[in-house]
């Protein structure tokens, strides 16, 4: 996989250099995206269909996107991919342009939960649409079908003493406070007041006493699963993690809890410095086509906004990740939870 990616990257660089010579004549569309969001065959199809050349630059972290876009005040790229939690920051810094949804015919065909963008938290501001969702994954619950019966429906199963010492949780204060807040029934898990924080903290201390360990990478969780008696895993890496476990023969299934599953959602956005707005709209619309969307899910394991995937059923409640009130506070309190004997 790493080798394949390296080759793809090399090919893209080669393509980039090749196109540079022609860049002076026709302005190419400049796309900034994560690996897997702009595969070469789609780029080729897009150019064939629209006659618009594309230069893709791949990034590896949220901070890198911010540095690239902020560094040039949006002038270096036309379209880029960013998640809903990050998007508001770009809107506030005036780095993105509003998008005219009527120019995106494919947006009318998306799954019901993505049709009304004003209902997708983080995508709009003052009635204007800034982000078009295209790819997501939920943070649900992986359970061993042999050990957990009946199938769980809520994260509250993580507190069930029947599974004491058989639970793998994730080592991250921010997410743990958010999902526990959802389990406690709080409306906005990303903005907790002092009283709610205290309640969540107490609940997390109880959780800690019920779990086997806190993991950090998907790989690590898998190794612990293989060498120990694990029944439940809080799946930070969602579908990828489920598939990896099933591959090694584990009898596991995946569920999004009824109180709502945290989920990340990536969007296409148009930068402030866009050279050809129509070309950017065509790109986004092209990425929302059934063909590209389903291929994206097939290749990455993530959910897409056009076709149904195993990331989330039609009735699953998803809570799009957002910036939390005070990351430092949550991190400190998470340390306190871990230090509590």
């Amino acid at each position: 996989m790493g080798l394949k990616k390296a080759f793809l990257r090399l090919a893209t660089i080669g393509l980039g250099i090749g196109l540079m010579t022609s860049a002076a004549l026709a302005a190419n569309l400049r796309v900034l995206a994560w690996d897997g969001y702009a595969d070469p065959d789609w780029v080729k199809d897009f150019t064939a269909a629209t006659g618009i050349g594309v230069d893709v630059v791949f990034i590896g972290s949220d901070d890198e996107i911010w540095a690239k876009i902020k560094g040039s005040e949006g002038q270096d790229f036309d379209v880029f991919a960013v998640n809903t939690a990050q998007l508001q920051r770009y809107i506030k810094a005036d780095l993105v342009s509003p998008i005219d949804v009527t120019k995106l015919p494919n947006q009318k065909e998306v799954l019901p939960r993505f049709r009304d963008l004003s209902q997708v938290s983080g995508d709009t501001k003052d009635g204007k649409v800034y982000g078009i969702p295209f790819c997501f994954d939920s943070i649900g619950l992986i359970y061993d079908t042999d050990k957990v019966k009946p199938a769980p429906t809520s994260m509250s199963v993580l507190w069930d003493p029947a599974y004491k010492g058989k639970i793998l949780a994730y080592d991250n204060g921010e997410h743990n406070f958010s999902f526990t807040a959802l389990t406690l029934g709080y409306k906005d898990p990303f903005n907790l007041n002092a009283e709610q924080m205290a309640a969540v903290k107490a609940k997390l201390v109880e959780l800690k006493r019920n779990v086997l360990s806190f993991y950090t990478t998907a790989d690590e969780a898998q190794q612990i699963y293989q060498n120990n008696d694990v029944a439940l895993i809080w799946a930070n890496y969602g579908q990828q993690q489920v598939k990896a476990l099933q591959k090694i023969g584990a009898h596991v299934a995946y569920v999004n809890p009824s109180e709502g599953a945290l989920a990340w959602l990536d969007n296409w956005v148009i930068s402030k410095g866009v050279r050809d707005n129509a070309a950017a709209e065509k790109w986004i619309d092209f990425m929302l086509s059934k063909k590209v969307s389903s291929a994206l899910s097939e290749r990455t394991g993530f959910g897409n906004t056009v076709t149904e995937t195993s990331s989330a059923g039609g009735n699953d409640k998803l809570v799009w990740l957002n910036n939390v009130e005070d990351p430092l506070k949550r991190s400190d309190m998470w340390n306190e939870v871990k230090a509590t004997p």
Binding site: G173, L212, S213, I224, Q226, N227, N228, P327, L328, S331
Partner: protein, 290 residues
């Protein structure tokens, strides 16, 4: 005469350059970074950005917040235990090595040091699967009838950290002890034998005291390496094995509170410096009395 006169200045220049380099490297790569992090420990953080105004807040927090001192203390106790276990296991091994003759001695020594060539992370992974509920240790203990059923005693708690760190650091204990044992003149042992001392008496009165400097430096070595480790506790410590290294690490990662992390590092550095000084002191005083 004129010839030597012409070479002398260039020679002097060269030696001056070498001297400057010899001092500059440690200053640039060790002292300056240390000074920077010491300075950082007096800054603060507000809304995710570092505030460059001097404050003692980080140190006040370290001493007053109820979570830091107990974890700090537990970590020190843990690392002293690791050092003790390593010494107890390494001494017989080093002693055995020192009794061997010729080529065998160094071949075996190399074998004992081979684990150091392996990646540290891979070793932790391997040890973790050995300690797990379905791991080799549990399977062996059950097969031998020592345990009725697999136990979770060995993984994801303080025991796991203790075992893993000891296993990882034993080579660092063997080497100094072996070197100090090897340096003991054989004539002393023979003299002791000639004067009618038993093997046990010779060991207690001659070998052991003379090897103590090696033991002291081995102990401080292992302690310092153990206390600076955050990866082992993170990977095998689970929920009860929370150490100071993990708190420190979280300040730089998720919390993004570098100043407080720097203050915690200063506290850790103090302990490390003390350990090194103690090791040094015992190592030297014995050595000079020879």
């Amino acid at each position: 005469m004129s010839k030597t006169g012409s070479t002398q200045p260039s020679e002097r220049q060269l030696s001056l350059l070498v001297t400057v380099l010899a001092f500059a490297l440690p200053v640039v790569f060790v002292l300056v970074p240390l000074a920077i992090f010491l300075v950082y420990s007096f800054f603060g953080v507000d809304q995710g950005t570092i505030v460059y105004a001097p404050t003692l807040g980080n140190y006040v927090r370290f001493f007053t917040d109820p979570i830091f001192l107990p974890v700090f203390w537990n970590t020190i106790v843990l690392c002293v235990s690791v050092a003790a276990i390593c010494i107890l296991l390494a001494y017989p091994a080093a002693y055995f090595l020192a009794t061997l003759k010729g080529r065998w001695r160094y071949a075996l020594l190399m074998l004992l040091l081979v684990p150091l060539l392996m990646s540290y992370v891979i070793k932790i992974y391997a040890i973790r699967s050995i300690l797990g509920l379905n791991g080799f240790l549990n399977k062996a203990l059950v097969a031998l009838g020592i345990l009725q059923q697999p136990s979770t005693l060995f993984v994801f708690n303080m025991n796991a950290i203790l075992l893993t760190l000891s296993l990882l650091l034993i080579p660092f204990a063997i080497l100094p002890i072996f070197l100090s044992l090897e340096r003991i003149p054989q004539t002393l042992l023979r003299a002791s034998d000639d004067l009618g001392a038993s093997g046990w008496q010779t060991f207690l009165r001659i070998t052991l005291p003379l090897s103590l400097p090696g033991v002291a430096s081995a102990a401080s070595f292992v302690f310092v390496l153990a206390i600076g480790d955050f990866l082992t506790p993170q990977m095998v410590g689970g929920i009860s094995g929370f150490t100071f290294g993990r708190i420190l690490y979280s300040q730089f990662g998720t919390a993004y509170n570098w100043p407080f992390g720097a203050a915690l590092s200063v506290a850790l550095a103090m302990v490390v410096i003390c350990a090194i000084l103690i090791g040094e002191r015992f190592g030297r005083s014995r050595g000079t009395s020879l």
